[in-house]
């Protein structure tokens, strides 16, 4: 069927902020789909609250709405834009739920908007557990024994019937949020009550557990003519029990026989047909490895994290084809971009192996519960391509950028056998390395298979690597075995340590032997058809397939896996820099390893190398391509960290020089710049020992701000109030040594301001100034930031502009520079300077309309701002207010402290846009998922130091008609001020205490300010956790509380005629 002519304008819903379970993959999918729609001449209306996305760029969509993803806003947009169709399956679970809501409530029908592609009924059948079960029953596909329940008692009764262990899955949530395995009734009661709460329809599925079975995923595609294809099958190395998002995954499946494969393929096609999906769909199976018994775990009737992985693994653009199918095309009418000659109606044939390893945030959340189960905890993932499993695995490990850089690491040597076995049996984020350690100790594959339930095939492969490393390689002659070792993915660094030689020497030896990386194309036809996809991976000892051109080329280093502190923003910058290079007729070459992103779509740059971002791997590509230089400014700390080794290897770094980057990051060199430019910063110094740190703190006076140098996202940064705390910090949180200095600064409480500027070495363009709503002390990535800075005085702005210019020039900046300031006691202090792209670049580019990355990239090629038509200086404010608000994934991370500080914790961000500052803030709050109550009960637990400041805020809330609940201390203060307040017990005073009343749903908003200490026993911690676990909004900053208060006060409220004279309380409407 050809394209439908009646669809001229299509609404695409994005997935909103990055949270665990919903990351960059939907920007990749959405962007690809939008480009596909554009190819067809369709006008695109795009809605997403996440500004750090490519899909919200003006060259991707025609009408862009950065608005909260709620039904009300969507309805408004629909009536304004009047699209003919809505594409529901590209925006993750958020987009799908919204589309479903709009359809079910008749909003789409009333506005004459058609749901394109997969029909509503199919979405309902796949998403509603009961309908799904019925449907599978009808087509004789097996499901585990289960039932839906709406309360805890029913869950317990059901579990008794079907037998423990059971799995709890809340309906309609992301990443299995709020679910888990229960072995006992006590566990079930706990998990079930949380699950019920997190499900928007208060339903959970209690299901017989098939823990330990093999887990497989099938990516299936269907069109309106009922053509079905299976694009890719994937096998989870971790068996059922670990969320697929937290599993190591290989594609294609490695341990299935043809017969088993056929069985699961047939089932996948039966299911997609029975559902009536049009577009992509993901089916998950559990297979008993001792019989042929299988069950269907789940179906996602939309593009997903797995489909992004499958697309990158095979080169098949699932989102694009889904969009084309939604427009009416069938698979046999859509061309295949990999070959340039054939059609999309094909199944990729891999002649390589792809492996995905999740990236978890536990390097930041050291106290968190690291165990893996049915609730996803990873923030990102890496993918690696290899000719051997071993190579893919080792490339994957190298791509993770963990402290553990290789499969075998000495740091696990101290764990005793008992602890080792316990951790092997109860998976956590380090299990892969623990398996390596166990094999090193001589554990048998049988024993490990028993402990981990991981298929022996995979264990054997890992065992082979361990044996090589510990027994074979050390005894062998380097030249005899080095090729074999390289084929299996051993890094030069690792080989150097095995043989006690330097890394450079290993590299030299292998170069002398002619052992160099060669690159193969990901062509998805096993070499059978000629392909044009410019998408490569490295291998050893094989023929190279890259055709290097004579054109000028530049390499852009990507930012690797998404983690806290290094999110999608950097991918946004990499993509734009690649496009800017292309505009200048320079070939853009991207190296990255994150399968979720737009930068790793082979359509983005001229060539894509899917490789780890290590010195060795990057140099391999440079050796091959011989670029003019490398751009490191856009790939976050990952790329910045490579600047030095690349420079030392004689590679040209484009833009700001490596030396100048170092001058900004090295505290002493930076102090010299400040001295020369006459700019102040909070007093402080670098300490190279614990004693030195204490002496500096003592001299400055507490509180002090401490952190290790050279980190991103404020990792291990803390505000320290006493010597005792400092000692504790130095002992547990950081390593302090001469080559690992710790920075100790005076902590200034004031207004924090952030500036991103572009400098061409002569002139500086400042597109805008952002101010933080929270006072200094909260990490800039976790702060609510507002553009323009409305509260700054003119002379303060003049100083900021002046300082920014001085610093940019002093650092010889060529490209972007990010500077954070604090204004305290009327004085501007600089906090931090980063001569590179920052997290706020996409946000600021969008709201100011300045293509910042493009300008910066072109400056690196030698252009000037004036040549590109930009006058230097601060641009006038655009007539809008844009509030950036962080979004957290605390609901997925059990036991994590939710209060904010200098260490970054947010996973994503949203933007609230409006002409009116209060409305902009309100939109940001809505978009960030705060359900701000208009009436109800507020629990206030205020630290002594904040009580004075909190009182007027609580008074105003009381005035708005809220009922106040407080613990004894705060309550007394409120009573003294003449407010009515209900007293509630502190936790140690016994039940019902503060945490109880939150769990029972008796509180609508929590205002809690931080007392010191992070240990989980404290009341504050339990209150904040209870609020997160039971979805009650919790404000831990009084600055933000004031902002929320302003929003509440601006809302339209009712008042009886008689009450107008009385003043006093009004009642809110809900």
């Amino acid at each position: 069927m050809p394209k439908r002519q009646d669809i001229k304008k299509v609404l695409v819903i994005g997935s909103g902020p990055i949270v665990i379970g919903q990351a960059a993959e939907f920007d990749y999918a959405g962007t690809q789909a939008c480009r596909a729609l554009k190819e067809e001449g369709v006008e695109i209306v795009l809605v997403n609250s996440n500004p750090a996305t490519i899909m919200t760029d003006e060259d991707i969509a025609d009408r862009i709405y950065i608005e909260p993803l709620t039904k009300e806003f969507l309805e408004e947009i629909i009536y304004t834009e009047k699209p003919q169709g809505l594409l529901p399956t590209l925006g993750g679970q958020v987009g799908l739920n919204l589309a479903k809501e709009l359809a079910e409530q008749g909003i789409l029908a009333r506005a004459g908007v058609e749901l394109l592609g997969t029909p509503l009924e199919a979405i309902q059948k796949a998403e509603d557990r009961e309908l799904f079960k019925q449907m599978l029953g009808k087509i004789d596909e097996p499901v585990p024994q289960s039932d839906i329940v709406g309360n805890v008692e029913a869950a317990v009764k059901l579990a008794e019937e079907i037998g423990y262990p059971v799995i709890v899955r809340p309906a309609y949530t992301l990443g299995g949020s709020g679910g888990g395995f229960a072995d006992t009734e006590t566990e079930l009661r706990d998990i079930a009550s949380k699950g019920l709460k997190s499900s928007p329809i208060n339903q959970i599925l209690i299901e017989k557990s098939v823990k330990g079975w093999k887990e497989f995923e099938y990516e299936v595609m269907r069109d309106s003519k009922d053509n079905c294809i299976i694009i890719c099958d994937m096998e989870n190395v971790d068996p059922v029990g670990v969320h697929t998002g937290d599993s190591i995954v290989v594609a294609p499946s490695q341990t299935l026989t043809t017969e088993e494969q056929k069985m699961l393929k047939d089932a996948s096609i039966k299911i997609i047909r029975a559902l009536g999906i049009q577009g992509g769909c993901n089916v998950q199976f559990a297979l008993n490895s001792d019989t042929k018994e299988y069950i269907v775990i789940e179906v996602n009737p939309r593009v997903s994290r797995s489909s992004a992985l499958a697309s990158k693994a095979t080169g098949f653009p699932i989102a694009k084809i889904t969009a084309k199918i939604a427009l009416g095309y069938t698979l046999d009418e859509i061309p295949n971009n990999v070959t340039g000659g054939t059609l999309a109606n094909y199944v990729p044939a891999l002649d390589y192996l792809v492996l995905k390893i999740p990236r978890w945030p536990f390097d930041k959340f050291t106290l968190a519960n690291r165990s893996l189960g049915s609730q996803m905890k990873a923030t990102g993932e890496v993918m690696a391509i290899g000719k051997t499993f071993e190579m893919a695995l080792q490339k994957g490990i190298h791509s993770l950028e963990l402290d553990t850089k290789e499969l075998l690491d000495k740091r696990f040597a101290d764990i005793d056998d008992y602890e080792l076995e316990r951790r092997l049996a109860k998976p956590d984020d380090e299990r892969l390395f623990l398996i390596g350690e166990a094999l090193r100790r001589g554990y048998s594959i049988e024993r490990l298979a028993f402990l981990t339930e991981i298929n022996k095939y995979f264990l054997n492969k890992i065992a082979g690597l361990v044996k090589l490393e510990t027994e074979i390689l050390p005894k062998a002659k380097v030249e005899d075995v080095i090729l074999e070792a390289k084929k299996l993915g051993f890094s030069d660094r690792k080989l150097a340590s095995i043989w006690g030689l330097s890394e450079q020497l290993i590299t030299d030896i292998r170069m002398d032997l002619g052992i160099e990386a060669s690159f193969k194309r990901v062509d998805t036809y096993g070499g059978e058809t000629n392909t044009v996809s410019p998408y490569y991976y490295s291998t050893y000892g094989e023929k190279d397939q890259v055709t290097v051109t004579n054109k000028d080329k530049v390499i852009v280093l990507g930012s690797g896996p998404i983690r806290i502190g290094q999110g999608i923003e950097f991918d946004y910058c990499c993509v734009h820099s690649a496009w800017a290079l292309q505009e200048e007729e320079i070939e853009a070459i991207v190296i990255n390893n994150n399968p979720e992103t737009v930068s790793t779509d082979f359509d983005t740059a001229d060539r894509l190398y899917f490789e780890p971002l290590t010195k060795e791997d990057v140099l391999n590509v440079i050796h091959k391509e011989k670029p003019l230089g490398v751009i490191v400014q856009f790939g976050g700390q990952t790329a910045i960290n490579l600047a030095k080794p690349l420079k030392e290897a004689g590679i040209k770094i484009l833009g700001t020089s490596m030396e100048d980057i170092d001058r900004a990051e090295d505290r002493e060199k930076f102090d010299a710049i400040l001295e020369a430019t006459g700019i102040k910063r909070p007093e402080g110094r670098a300490a190279r020992s614990a004693g030195e740190a204490k002496a500096i703190a003592d001299q400055l006076g507490f509180p002090v701000l401490v952190r290790p140098s050279y980190v991103l996202g404020g990792r291990a940064m803390e505000i320290i109030y006493s010597l005792e705390e400092l000692e504790d910090y130095l002992a547990t949180a950081v390593k302090v040594a001469p080559d690992h200095p710790v920075l100790v600064d005076r902590y200034l409480q004031g207004k924090e301001v952030e500036i991103d500027a572009i400098c061409d070495g002569q002139d500086i363009l400042i597109p805008g100034i952002m101010e933080h709503i929270e006072r200094a002390g909260v990490h800039s990535g976790d702060s609510t930031a507002r553009y323009p800075a409305l509260t700054l005085k003119e002379e303060e702005i003049a100083t900021l502009v002046d300082y920014t210019q001085r610093l940019a020039l002093a650092l010889n900046t060529k490209g972007l520079i990010n500077i954070q300031y604090v204004i305290a006691n009327g004085e501007v202090n600089v906090l931090e300077v980063n001569p590179r792209s920052s997290r706020t670049i996409p946000y600021l580019s969008k709201v100011t309309g300045v293509p910042m990355v493009k300008l910066a990239a072109k400056i690196m090629l030698g252009k000037t701002l004036r040549e590109m038509g930009y006058e230097p200086g601060l641009l006038p404010n655009r007539g809008l207010v844009a509030v950036k608000m962080p979004v957290f994934s605390f609901a997925k991370l059990i036991d994590v402290e939710t209060s904010l500080g200098p260490e970054m914790k947010s996973t994503g961000e949203v933007l609230g846009l409006d002409k009116n500052p209060t409305k902009a803030l309100y939109k940001a709050l809505l978009a960030a998922g705060y359900v701000i109550p208009r009436k109800g009960r507020i629990l206030a637990t205020i630290a002594d130091k904040d009580k004075k400041e909190a009182l007027p805020i609580l008074e105003r809330l009381d005035h708005l008609g809220f009922e106040l609940v407080a613990t004894r201390g705060t309550a007394q203060l409120l009573r003294e001020a003449g407010l009515k307040v209900e007293v509630v017990n502190k936790i140690k005073e016994g039940s019902p205490h503060v945490a109880d009343i939150i769990k029972e749903g008796k509180i609508d908003l929590v205002i809690n300010t931080l007392t010191k200490g992070k240990t989980p026993e404290r009341d504050g911690f339990r209150i904040r956790r209870a609020a997160v676990d039971f979805s009650v909004p919790c404000l831990t900053s009084l600055d933000l509380a004031v902002a929320v208060l302003e929003v509440l006060e601006s809302m339209i409220r009712v008042k009886a005629l008689q009450d107008y004279d009385k003043g006093g309380r009004t009642s809110g409407i809900s």
Binding site: N227, K262, T330, A349, D351, T388, Y457, G527, E542
Partner: protein, 345 residues
């Protein structure tokens, strides 16, 4: 032990010998499927050929007795990137390496299979020799005329069924095709390829099925003659080599393809319904479309290269397909259901 594949154009691809330690020669063909090495090794269609698998990790799930497609392995040699010495599957009874060794098949591993595959694609069909010695050696041309006779059944086999009675002319039938016929309930007489028209009609069948098999269809003129004589008398259906023989019997011509179709991902469109199926294929010969007689039309077409994948007679119950439907329950059901229908009327 070091080994090498020497192609007839003189190109060498080094590797290590595994399985049977010896020397072996044949036409080198490429298969792009990811799974199914055991089925490929034992599929009579590969008789006389050296098979290169492009998926790099082979042998992962071992070998099990129930997946064999013929009585024994038929390939002359197997070339892989990596032979997995450690296999794991609940049904497995032995390793790939042992299977090759005990069946006298030479394997070569550690080969840059992507480069080999691209070489063959550029050069067209090539014969090759796997040898452990690195000496250059002329490729001895092998008599390939009797491939079908070597793989066909030596005696009539009977499989009872409640459905229509079918004579299956065994040109080297895969077990899965036979199983598919059985699943459809046909009453089956499996006969040797050299059976005459009279011998076939003596069973009083309601239809004739021609199976897959190895080699050039023109190498079995006797089967073509038998099919010619059966045209108009009975419904005839064929798969793969059977399809080519039916074409020849109808008067069309066949030729050797530059690069055969061997893999599991070929999109084939049903010309009448416009539906597209992802098919498994294994053939090195193709029908010259221009030579099709007027009464015959192309029923299926390959979406990648536009080649013909099936034919249908305009008024006689004769049809055939080039691809293998038995790998998908849906495709299998579709084609055998139609065969069933044309026989019962």
């Amino acid at each position: 032990m070091a080994g090498v594949l020497i192609l007839e154009d003189g190109t060498c691809f080094p590797g290590n010998v595994f399985g049977y330690r010896g020397q072996s020669q044949g036409e080198v063909v490429i298969n792009t499927g990811i799974l199914g090495y055991q089925e490929i090794l034992t599929d009579p269609t590969y008789y006389g050929q050296i098979v290169v698998l492009t998926y790099p990790l082979i042998g992962n799930y071992g070998i099990n007795p129930s997946d064999n497609q013929g009585l024994k392995p038929y390939v002359q040699g197997l070339i892989v990137r990596e032979n997995c010495s450690y296999y794991n599957n609940w049904r497995a009874t032995g390793s790939l390496e042992n299977f090759l060794a005990s069946n006298g098949i030479v394997g070569l591993e550690g080969v840059d299979t992507r480069a080999l595959s691209r070489h063959i694609r550029a050069k067209g069909p090539l014969k090759g020799i796997i040898t452990s010695a690195s000496m250059s050696q002329a490729i001895i041309s092998r008599n390939t005329k009797n491939l079908v006779q070597e793989v066909t059944t030596q005696e009539v086999k009977y499989f009872p069924g409640s459905g229509p009675k079918v004579v299956v002319i065994d040109l080297g039938i895969k077990k899965d095709i036979l199983e598919a016929l059985k699943r459809k309930g046909f009453e089956i007489y499996l006969v040797p390829s050299w059976f005459s028209e009279e011998q076939i009609l003596a069973f009083n069948p309601q239809g004739i099925f021609l199976s897959n098999g190895p080699g050039d269809p023109k190498d079995v003129p006797e089967v073509i003659e038998v099919v010619k004589s059966l045209i108009g008398k009975l419904p005839i259906f064929g798969i793969a080599l059977g399809h080519q023989i039916i074409s020849l019997a109808l008067g069309a011509n066949t030729y050797k393809m530059k690069f055969g179709h061997r893999g599991v991902n070929y999109p084939v469109q049903d010309v009448l319904t416009k539906r597209v199926y992802i098919t498994s294929q294994n053939h090195g010969y193709e029908i010259e479309e221009a030579t099709l007689p007027q009464d015959v039309f192309v029923s299926h077409r390959n979406l990648n290269d536009g080649t013909m994948e099936g034919l249908r007679h305009k008024f006689l119950p004769i049809f055939s397909i080039q691809y293998h439907p038995e790998v998908s329950s849906e495709q299998e059901d579709l084609v055998f259901k139609e065969f069933h229908e044309v026989m019962v009327g």
